[in-house]
């Protein structure tokens, strides 16, 4: 009997522990997912039912989305897309060229330069905002797409360079050398051989940069104009005539998060590889 106990007690304990872990996970999941559910539910609720319970949904309506459209949400989304795509595109072009050079050529002070590039990301962005604002104001970039795109490219460049360089480092140098013996130019090697091989790395860094820029608020708030205001800024300034119009806010949020969710699903296999860059061998 005693022997039996020795075995059964830990089994019970194990089951209890397992259930507790499971419960904890459910609770955590609820904490993360309920707000998102709430957002979707609010967005599709009729205005009159906004203050009814979170889980009560008698009728699905698109009136909040119409409201959001009238409020200029869709042009804000377009602005978000323009500055994000622009920033990511410039950053990627520069990052590919820079990381190829850092990976393959004898650049003087390579390590220091690489650290310097990374260190620009260590600075709190708020410390840069005043000089950049004054500078942009003086040269007429404030309120333009180009201004925000340039700042965004600068913000996403360090991570992109580091990530893409790690992918290029993984490609054996013999492949470049084989192409040199064949008689190809450096540009041919980069564009026809190296870049096609680091597409996953470029995709991963594009995804990370896009997420960061899509959510960016501080620079957008100060550097965008009335017509170039991205969604993050629009959301912060939203106010109805009689207090907050929560249905409209939720509708804008729904439209705002959809593109980035689609992007993440599409690129998630590359992002995982991007997150572990340098740590695993392919």
């Amino acid at each position: 009997m005693r022997k039996r106990n020795q075995y059964t007690t830990p089994l019970v304990l194990y089951r209890v522990r397992k259930s507790l872990k499971f419960a904890l996970l459910i609770a955590l999941l609820a904490i993360y997912l309920i707000p998102i559910y709430g957002m979707f539910s609010l967005a599709f609720k009729p205005r009159a039912e906004i203050y009814s319970g979170l889980f009560e949904l008698t009728r699905v309506t698109l009136e909040n989305f119409e409201e959001a459209y009238r409020y200029g949400a869709y042009s804000a989304i377009t602005n978000s897309i323009i500055v994000t795509v622009g920033g990511v595109a410039i950053a990627l072009v520069l990052a590919v060229l820079a990381s190829y050079a850092f990976s393959r050529f004898a650049v003087k002070g390579k390590n220091i330069l690489m650290f310097y590039i990374l260190s620009t990301r260590m600075m709190p962005p708020i410390t840069l905002i005043i000089p950049i604002f004054i500078m942009f104001f003086n040269v007429g970039l404030k309120g333009t797409y180009l201004g925000l795109i340039l700042v965004y490219a600068m913000m996403s460049l360090p991570l992109s360079i580091w990530m893409i360089k790690s992918f290029i480092d993984d490609i054996p140098k013999d492949i470049d050398q084989a192409a040199l013996v064949d008689g190809h130019s450096t540009m041919f090697i980069l564009f026809k051989i190296i870049i096609p091989m680091v597409i996953p790395g470029i995709a991963a860094s594009a995804a990370f940069a896009a997420i960061m820029l899509w959510n960016e608020f501080l620079f957008a708030l100060l550097l965008s104009g009335v017509d170039t205001k991205p969604t993050s800024v629009l959301l912060s300034s939203i106010r109805g005539e009689r207090g907050f119009n929560w249905g409209r806010v939720a509708a804008i949020e729904v439209v705002y998060i959809l593109p980035i969710i689609i992007l993440v699903f599409w690129l998630q296999k590359y992002m995982l590889r991007g997150l572990t860059f340098g740590t695993v061998r392919r």
């Binding site: 050398q177 064949d182 096609p196």
Partner: protein, 368 residues
């Protein structure tokens, strides 16, 4: 013999990496159509030497002369060389066709010419059926062939092959060896092949150059390297460290002879004569497996005879590699059939003096 007859001359090439001398005054010269096998263990500097010839690594000193012209400052594609990398270095994102056509595209040849040339070479290497496949979807043997095909597609004077047969299974290895010989005689091209496998070097090379720790320790036709290795470490390397070795010593009066394999032995007077002639007190007698006899009893042995114990055998297709042991010493003999003995039974090992290589006991260098 005029210097201009050489297609390539390498003169006193030296290279140091991080304070370590990886190549030390390497010199050689080759005529058109010759095949030089550079043989050496991994890390002996073979790849570095080939890359210096190709122009991918800059030497610290010395000259590379191709067709009578010093090419030290020329970029790789202007040197008229083609290189098969040890890592193969195929372009994984491209098809087999694109890989082979790569040097021709770089030379801006027209489409028709490229098609024809890729066709010819892929037929020669029997890879026509995989031309459309991606390079990263090939088997080991196929990848090796594609790498060789890409190198051959380039109209070069000299083809450099870095370990072209390593990591291949025996069947493909033998097939490719035959193909290299065919390529050499068919195309009449000069080939420099680096390998760490003595059997590849001896089988393929018109000349073999032994490279140890960045220095040339012996150079010559394969038969000379095999039958007259300059010292015992070369002989050991050629057999993969399983050389049959016996050490013979003579006392200072020249009377009493002893061997390091115990008391039970017989020795041909020839060896004593050699010992006296060279004035050494000890010599090491060595033989390859094909020069050693292991049998139940060896009646007439005009060499040294040692009694040992039969410990095993390997079947090698048409012949057997038979193992015998005396104390710690292991002897190997290549035979057409197995000796009529069971494991652990007494056998006699005979190394006839005609098959024996004699090395100085003191310096290890070849005596005769």
């Amino acid at each position: 013999m005029g210097k201009d007859e050489y297609i390539i001359q390498v003169e006193k090439i030296a290279k140091t990496y991080n304070g370590r001398r990886v190549l030390n005054d390497i010199s050689f010269a080759l005529r058109r159509g010759e095949l030089l096998a550079i043989l050496g263990p991994p890390g002996s500097g073979k790849t570095t030497l080939l890359k210096i010839i190709a122009g991918l690594i800059k030497q610290d000193a010395g000259d590379v002369i191709i067709n009578g012209r010093i090419v030290n400052d020329l970029p790789p594609y202007e040197r008229g060389v083609s290189l098969v990398f040890e890592t193969l270095a195929l372009y994984p994102n491209m098809s087999v066709y694109e890989n082979i056509a790569s040097p021709l595209i770089a030379e801006k040849k027209d489409k028709e010419y490229i098609d024809r040339r890729v066709g010819e070479i892929s037929r020669l290497l029997k890879i026509e059926h995989i031309l459309g496949r991606k390079a990263d979807k090939l088997s080991g043997g196929e990848r090796q062939r594609v790498a060789i095909a890409r190198a051959l597609a380039k109209e070069a004077e000299i083809y450099l092959l870095d370990e072209p047969l390593s990591n291949l299974d025996a069947k493909i290895r033998y097939a490719l060896r035959t193909e290299f010989k065919k390529l050499k005689s068919l195309l009449g091209k000069t080939i420099i092949l680096a390998t760490s496998d003595p059997s590849d070097a001896l089988a393929l090379g018109d000349k073999v150059m032994l490279l140890f720790n960045g220095a040339v320790i012996q150079e010559g036709p394969p038969i000379d390297i095999y039958y007259a290795p300059r010292n015992i470490s070369i002989a050991r390397y050629l057999t993969g460290n399983i050389l049959n070795e016996v050490s013979i010593s003579i006392d200072s009066y020249g009377k009493s002879v002893s061997m390091d394999v115990g008391q039970e032995f017989s020795i041909d007077p020839y060896f004593l004569k050699v010992l006296r002639e060279v004035g050494e007190t000890s010599i090491t007698l060595a033989s390859y497996a094909d020069g050693c006899i292991v049998d139940k009893s060896v009646e007439s042995c005009s060499g040294i005879k040692v009694a040992g114990e039969f410990i095993g055998y390997e079947y090698r297709g048409s012949e057997y590699l038979v193992y015998a042991r005396k104390g710690e010493r292991v002897f190997r003999s290549l035979r057409a059939s197995l000796p009529n003995v069971t494991f652990g039974e007494r056998v006699e090992v005979c190394i006839p003096h005609t098959n024996a290589l004699l090395f100085s006991g003191k310096t290890g260098s070849l005596i005769r």
